[in-house]
Assembly symmetry: C2
Homo-oligomer: 345 residues x 2
């Protein structure tokens, strides 16, 4: 499915990952720092995309110049349309033109998505690309659960949810090595009669094998099933997915902050010092910095979108994920999964 003029195989793997040096709350410092570390510590080739002279100490990394920046609060569609020389648009063009292996940005999520969609284009057969976000499953043996769509499409059709199931299963396989991912729909009850007409129709289609041969459809899960590794992929529309994701972040963030306030009390300092080391593995497992960011599935190229607050460490992880997924042939596999025949029920 790759365009003719794009490198493949070894030539593809030799390309650098294009990093949007200007995107993110802590850009360019942490972003460029992460890019340098990805090269130095992981041996991954990186090209920085940004305003010449505005990227700080690039450590000699190659650069693609872009004169504009789409801000975190800019309207995504307008930003991409008006700022054709922005770092996001240039990064997406580098992938399209075969000058970069993949793109990574911690900037405006909507604009990153729009840049990738408009410049790389949709894969054949894809109705709408979706954002896949890994939700950690701390404490268990299971890799993160992939939630999609976590915000690209507020409105969805059952056919789109079926494609999300197919694309999410490929992502779980390429990213976590799950041979035959268990895929579920997010609903408000486990019974197939529960939920909106959208969910019920998607349920009927997936139960009839519309998900294709690469996945195991297991029915509905509920909001309380996150963090328990019940399934490998949770499929929902981008409105519900975004609400669920932000509700998780908010709930966890609130509780972590409240716990932190208790542990910071002067009168429990010694006790806190004993407890903290045991909490660190959990904190590490839950930290979005470690998951490598979300990914736009369904476009003709790899686009990893990191959290806006990304540190250098988060950027290193995002670059590594982008590199590995691009080399693993994720885009080719997504293209194949989307157009594969359904399996008989």
């Amino acid at each position: 499915m790759a365009r003719h003029d794009r490198p493949e195989g070894a030539a593809l793997a030799a390309l650098p990952v294009a990093v949007d040096a200007m995107g993110g709350d802590r850009a360019p410092g942490e972003i460029v720092g992460g890019a340098r570390r990805a090269r130095d510590e992981r041996g991954i080739d990186v090209v920085l995309v940004g305003r010449p002279g505005d990227m700080g100490d690039t450590g000699g990394l190659p650069e693609i110049h872009a004169g504009e920046v789409i801000g975190m609060d800019d309207d995504p569609a307008q930003g991409v349309r008006r700022k054709k020389d922005s770092s996001l648009v240039r990064a997406a063009e580098a992938v399209r033109d075969g000058r970069a292996l993949a793109m990574v940005s911690a900037g405006n999520t909507g604009a990153a998505m729009a840049s990738a969609l408009l410049r790389m284009g949709r894969l054949p057969g894809v109705i709408r690309p979706a954002i896949a976000t890994p939700i950690p499953n701390p404490g268990g043996d299971r890799p993160p659960t992939v939630l999609l769509d976590s915000g690209a499409n507020a409105e969805c059709t059952p056919q789109m949810l079926v494609q999300f199931a197919r694309m999410g299963a490929v992502f779980a396989r390429c990213r976590y090595g799950t041979a035959r991912p268990h895929v579920a729909l997010l609903s408000i009850g486990e019974e197939k009669s529960k939920g909106t007409p959208l969910v019920k129709e998607a349920h009927a289609m997936l139960a009839s094998g519309a998900g294709g041969p690469g996945l195991e459809f297991t029915g509905n899960v509920e909001g309380r099933d996150f963090f328990h590794g019940v399934v490998d992929v949770v499929v929902t529309d981008g409105f519900t997915g975004n609400v669920a994701l932000k509700t998780m972040e908010g709930s966890m963030g609130f509780l972590v902050a409240a716990l932190g306030a208790v542990l910071a009390r002067d009168d429990v300092r010694e006790a806190a010092e004993k407890i903290l080391p045991h909490l660190l593995p959990l904190a590490g497992a839950l930290d979005p910095e470690g998951t490598g960011g979300a990914m736009l599935l369904g476009v003709d190229g790899v686009c990893v979108i990191s959290h806006g607050s990304s540190s250098a460490t988060a950027v290193v992880n995002a670059i590594t994920v982008a590199h590995d997924l691009a080399v693993s042939g994720l885009v080719r596999d997504v293209a194949a999964a989307v157009t594969a025949d359904p399996t008989p029920a």
Copy 2:
């Protein structure tokens, strides 16, 4: 708006709260225990509804007999249709017939809702009743945030969301004394352009004063705004609301369990004993046992639905809330709010 044959004023306040003795994971023991405590500790009159002889030690509480029980896993609509002599249906009939002030159940939520709807009936002008659930705001000065609809209606129209806003504002006022509740829509961005067509249309209507005179519409909030007391009432469709509520429960529950496992380690026992007392206020504030349960708004009577796992303490709180809201005239105020004229924008 009350039916003619129902008591009002002092005669109303003298009626007992009908408690479904058979509903809930820990029924009848904890339910009946809670009913007894509500009478003994709070001086609230209670009537138990259930199978004679199957309610355990009733402590001499009056009883309304019901020969059937709708199980936690029974289909709600079928259960109510087929089990006309069930404790849930009989409890709702007691309210309808002026023999009880309000009903409380920790049983099958859908069946409690269906019983109340079918036996008490909708208030004039109400399109569809909605479930209002209080979300605690620990640490701040604000009372819980009211989330509705948290599960009654998977599909909603903008007109329904506007009514939910009106009903939720009355609930916040009656339950927490908030004079002019701040009401927001749950969406995936604060801008009015964000969200589904449903949310955008409801936003336009509420911004034009469709919520009526009793509330302040403040726009959109996101999933991460729960637990921070940003607004008094959050309005959404029952699918999104239920996903958000269960995602909160799941996230919090996961983190609390993980923290509990750390604090239970033998090698940190002394430290844990120092820390735990400081965590208890937070745990107490977050405990759904303390909030008194969810409430079905829009029916012609007070129906409080407690968590399925309710203990006697949760039942005491639910009975108290049901009693206080019924006496405060909540139903009358909801009826008035639903039919009030819009305010000019």
